[in-house]
């Protein structure tokens, strides 16, 4: 009989596969804060913009979009993180639906970080 840790290791491999399937290991990842506090600040609208973009915009094919819990920055929510392979994650704060569209165009498509919107 295999030990619980061995069973877990198998589950971890499976989890990795499952994540692979949904594009978790993509070169570009977007995380949108979706805790109660973030949603109250309007993050669901931001999420919608990213969701539509990832679904409809062909140039965003393979981009991984995920929700996340709250990191604790109440006064700066909604927050969005953009992970790009080989680069430091960029953390945008007070993101609006409008800003989200600009982030997609400038940052995700052209790689231009919009410094004024990054949290310090």
């Amino acid at each position: 009989m295999s030990s619980p840790l061995a069973v877990l290791e198998a589950k971890k491999q499976q989890a990795k596969k499952n994540l692979e399937e949904i594009g978790y290991f993509s070169d570009v990842k977007i995380y949108v804060g979706m805790a109660t506090c973030e949603i109250a600040a309007g993050s669901n609208h931001v999420m919608e913009v990213f969701q539509n973009a990832v679904k409809e915009d062909k140039s965003l094919k393979g981009v991984y979009l995920s929700q996340k819990g709250c990191a604790g920055r109440c006064n700066l929510e909604p927050t969005v993180e953009i992970y790009q392979k080989g680069k430091d994650p960029v953390k945008y704060v007070k993101v609006t639906a409008e800003n989200a569209k600009i982030i997609i165009e400038k940052h995700i498509k052209k790689g231009e970080v919009i410094k004024e919107w990054v949290g310090k």
Binding site: M1, S2, S3, P4, L5, V7, L8, K11, K12, A15, K16, N18, L19, Y24, Y31, G33, A35, T36, C37, I39, S66, Q67, K68, G69, C70, A71, G72, R73, C74, N75, L76, T79, E81, D88, P89, K91, G119, K120
Partner: protein, 511 residues
């Protein structure tokens, strides 16, 4: 990367921001990093490794010893050594035992537990399963307030997913250990966060505390030995198992190991959730993490420990954040509320605000709390209304001390704290209210005087705004307020566009 301590991932993403630099994430290690509704994300971040380790390599006794040696103490308020509680519950002989997670989080302004459950629900489940294994229980209950719908939704999904993956249920991961979790909803009564009241509430009875002993460890839910811990306490367990006792006890100081999550609120630049190592000073958390006081205002006090904590002054800013130091300074750690107060706030009014809350939430079972807090609130109301009498401050102190000593549960035992600590640290403000009918922060309505100064151009805006026709003056001529008619509603003050109305509270001649 595999080798990297799994609590360090947070710093690698967020470490560059000054808000996070001095933080140390253990309970919140995954919050903001993973998708809380995807169990794969958690497993891939080494989730359930602690549970696997415990079931493979450790006896229940080993687990208890590990938690004991780590020095972890309860994060729900009282700071009782967690390992000791586990040991006491493990030692009980019984056919059935329960594990309870207290997610009632009743402190106004507190949201650390909500954040953990919403951001990383599996951490709580994993901690509870480990607790069940350690004390010999196969049944867990999460008591969570119904006002947290998103947290509840994610917790339900997490429990379902954990069952499917056999992290809950029969013969977990092929071991002999079986454990499952149910959810019970709290209806938003503050007292139901108190463990004995919480247990009665789960049993379907009215949520009222019982005297202890017997402690829940001996006789808890349905009379069976029950291990009650707070969400944040549970969220620490997996890290302790995976990273080890030495790692955990290297964080923090003397008798307070690890970290504490604080909800920073009030007059502070970075309002938010911060998890900091124990032993950090109040100054560091308020200025370095919190970014200080906004709008160039002066710091006046910090209230720690929620509605039953104390207010500390600028002289105490170098107090270390740990259970003993805060207690010594006259406050408590509590569940982690931290409200920063600036010069614009009246300390008497603040004390009244907190007492109003605890008075409202007093369950009424014991007389000191039910009657005592009511009388204290009456006196405080009278003082802030400008009707304070000589002897009132002393009466508040006397009442407060009796309520603390004679109440049945922690609610009454701590309810007078905000009043007693503000009297201790800001007595002159109380005296001004009582003897001079003056509120230096110009907050207490009845003690305010509105007067019109020479910037008045006679626009009549204030005259029209006044609901009691207390303002006189012809158009284009200076107006004046008839003090004996004024009801101090402040409408004139807000209507004036020329800064021509002064709002003051000066010492008044005593009749």
């Amino acid at each position: 990367m595999e080798k990297q301590m799994f609590t360090d991932r947070f710093a690698s993403v967020f470490g560059t921001e000054s808000f996070f630099k001095k933080q140390k994430r253990i309970a919140l290690k995954n919050c903001g990093l993973i998708d809380p509704e995807n169990i794969n994300d958690y497993i891939y971040a080494d989730g359930y490794k602690a549970l696997g380790t415990v079931l493979t390599k450790m006896t229940p006794k080993d687990v208890v010893e590990t938690v004991k040696a780590s020095g972890l103490r309860g994060r729900g308020g009282a700071g009782f050594p967690t390992g000791r509680k586990w040991e006491l519950t493990a030692q009980q002989e019984s056919d059935e035992k329960f594990v309870v997670c207290n997610a009632d989080e009743g402190d106004p302004g507190a949201f650390m537990d909500r954040s953990v459950v919403e951001g990383d629900p599996h951490t709580v489940i994993e901690g509870m399963a480990i607790g069940g294994y350690a004390i010999g229980s196969s049944k867990g209950v999460v008591y969570i307030r119904a006002e947290y719908p998103l947290a509840i939704k994610r917790l339900i999904k997490a429990i379902d997913d954990a069952r499917k993956e056999n992290f809950l249920g029969k013969n977990i991961l092929g071991s002999n250990f079986s454990f499952d979790i149910e959810i019970r909803y709290g209806a938003g009564a503050f007292v139901c966060g108190e463990e004995t009241a919480l247990i009665r509430s789960i049993e379907g009875l009215r949520g009222m505390p019982k005297s202890r002993p017997p402690f829940p460890a001996a006789k808890g839910l349905f009379g069976k030995p029950t291990l009650v811990n707070n969400v944040e306490t549970w969220a620490n367990i997996s890290s302790i198992i995976v990273n080890g006792v030495d790692w955990f006890s290297s964080i923090g100081i003397d008798k307070s190991k690890g970290t504490k999550v604080f909800a920073l609120a009030g007059k502070i630049v970075n309002t938010g959730l911060a998890e900091v190592p124990m032993g950090m000073t109040l100054r560091e958390i308020i200025y370095d993490v919190g970014g200080g006081i906004p709008n160039g205002k002066k710091f006046k006090a910090v209230q720690t420990g929620g509605p039953s904590g104390g207010c500390l002054t600028d002289k105490m800013l170098d107090t270390k954040i740990d259970y003993e130091s805060l207690m010594q300074a006259g406050s408590i750690m509590g569940s982690g509320g931290m409200i920063v107060i600036d010069e614009d706030s009246c300390m008497v009014n603040i004390a009244k605000f907190f007492l109003q809350f605890t008075q409202d939430e007093s369950c009424g079972k014991c007389i000191p709390c039910r009657e005592g807090t009511k009388r204290m609130l009456e006196i405080l109301t009278r003082i802030t209304d400008g009707e304070g009498k000589p002897g009132d401050i002393e009466k508040l102190e006397e009442l407060g001390n009796v309520i603390k000593k004679a109440s049945l549960c922690g609610l009454g035992q701590s309810a007078p704290n905000p009043v007693l600590s503000t009297i201790k640290n800001f007595r002159e403000e109380y005296e001004e209210h009582v003897y001079q009918k003056k509120c230096r922060a110009v907050v207490c309505e009845k003690l305010i005087t509105y007067t019109i100064n020479d910037k008045c151009i006679g626009c009549s805006a204030c005259r029209r705004a006044c609901p009691v026709v207390a303002i006189k003056g012809a158009p284009k001529e200076a107006h004046s307020i008839q003090q004996e008619l004024c009801i101090k509603c402040g409408k004139c003050f807000r209507s004036c566009k020329f800064h021509a109305i002064d709002k003051t509270s000066e010492a008044k001649e005593q009749k």
